[in-house]
Symmetry: C2
Subunit: 373 residues, 2 copies
Amino acid sequence: MTDSSRAIDHLSCIIPAGGVGSRLWPLSRANAPKFLLDLTGSGQSLLRDTWDRLVPIVDAERIVVVTGNAHRASVIDQLPDVLEMNVVTESEPKDSSAAIGLAAALLELRDPEAIVGSFAADHVIRGPVLFERAVRQAVEAAALGYIVTIGIQPTEPSTGFGYIKMGKPFGEVASHDTYDVKKFVEKPGHSDAKKYVSSGKYLWNAGMFIAKASVLLEQMAQSQPQMVADLREIAAAWGTERSAEVRERLWPTLPKIAIDYTVAEPAAEAGRMLTVAGHFEWDDVGDFASVAKLLTRGRPSDLAVLGDRAQILSDKSSGIVVSDSDRLVALVGVEDIVVVDTPDVLLVTTKDHAQQVKSLVDRMKLAGGNHLL
Amino acid sequence: MTDSSRAIDHLSCIIPAGGVGSRLWPLSRANAPKFLLDLTGSGQSLLRDTWDRLVPIVDAERIVVVTGNAHRASVIDQLPDVLEMNVVTESEPKDSSAAIGLAAALLELRDPEAIVGSFAADHVIRGPVLFERAVRQAVEAAALGYIVTIGIQPTEPSTGFGYIKMGKPFGEVASHDTYDVKKFVEKPGHSDAKKYVSSGKYLWNAGMFIAKASVLLEQMAQSQPQMVADLREIAAAWGTERSAEVRERLWPTLPKIAIDYTVAEPAAEAGRMLTVAGHFEWDDVGDFASVAKLLTRGRPSDLAVLGDRAQILSDKSSGIVVSDSDRLVALVGVEDIVVVDTPDVLLVTTKDHAQQVKSLVDRMKLAGGNHLL
């Protein structure tokens, strides 16, 4: 299966659509999680943007979305072409190992040679042609039995992302963009980030994984054998009369653990991990400062506006206004401000404090103000 | 008429109720001018607060309100005890000389010995007993033929108010608080303001004037003889069948000029001006920074909230939130912020920029966005 035209035919995509995105509250809510929001002004949700990026690469019936029970209807509503059997629901959230692992187990049953690519439902990517090129390169390497992550060529010393240290170029495929992964590095401080970027040896870790389903599950089983056995048991019963019983018995027992720890890092240590350097624009839009940056294309003196109907009157002000209403938002002398104007909550903060919105949400959870979360 | 019990019997009060208070937009509007707002959280308008301060000193039928045609109904609604004949309306705004001059001319016709006291409808005063004491002292001096202003003992080197330079104590009445006025000083810079306050020789100019109606009009006539003749003609026709004709003919021709220039400053130069030092708390609450100061009693690290129904969630924030709705206002890491949340306009600025709200309103007027003004 080294022929690339054949490898791509085995590709299925997994879109894990979970996580509220607390740092984007009060725009994001339990019933309006980040992946259902339009954060780019495109007029459609990030989930739909993700779908639209994948359908030129794989057929719609080869795209699986893993989401919470509560969001099943919204997902189907957002993605008219998705097969209902491909909307896999979690009865409770169990982090990315379980979500991606279950989808991989299901796809492995459909095709023992399945290659799976996992792409977050709530990231922003610009440059679909470059994205597709990176995916195709990753699929070629995955077909050889490697676990591949698409990293992002960094454009600045961001301290908000993890990094991938590249090793030597990988020579078995005809690509100049595939490298061994030396190691994964957690979000660095500013001076380390500067070193990483100027060295040219680091990529941003965008959390995109491409591997044969069997290889991914086998890697996961090395540290979590029971989990993988359970996931395969749930997958085997899926769609049968035993489905509910098996899932209700096993799913709640699964550990909550990110796929970085069950797959990516151990695979890198074992020398089974490759990375493809992606040259497209990427952002995980983790908070309102990121949304502002995205909308102003990085010009910090601009005022970004998200919301078609918003009327803005700005005097010596910069930052971002998010509004879904048509009322006038007047700003005077506020720099790097963040104003999020929703029907029942108004948030005012600054780009520097954008990350701290999560603590506020956590405080509200503790205080029981849940109808606004 | 040197006997104080007789002098106070001749007192009538004038409340000029004009001016939108643009610096308090979008709380203040053309149809909700500053004097109709509750800026103290007292539950009633500043106009009503003003009225309530005066009725212990003079009977209700001796209080005249001068306001625009558009606000006549609101004024009567706010002041159930006001005589309708005492609500004097201007067909168009003509600044304080015309407004106070007309009221003085009307009161002079009712009582040739009338003493008039003019008190703005939209200032905040705390300490009614000290206020009454100052008014009574001013009335005593006014009965002697002086024009008297009640100045405010400054508590800090404010650059937002004009100052009154006191001369020697005035000896003819039994008061330690009455002084000659040496001169009026425009709003100073910070270093001058500091000098003024530390010298102990300056008071804040609160724009309160007390004088015999005849003395006030005579002083005004020295620089504006035609204006005073016209005001007396309008007053003479008031309430007769000629009233509308005379007013429509003369009022539009009157000059727009503040009473400071027609009465206070020339009277001070002529040695006819006295000041009583008031020891009560006073503020003209000219902008949201002043409102914040008033509500937090000067503690700048506090977050002031104006609006009974507002729900606030504040993390490392200070300043002021004004809200008439019950939606949640969440603040994260915004210091000295000003948030004014109204149904059709949201304003976000800082205490330092509070004065600049007026320029924004001026810009909107030019742009024709008048339905929000």
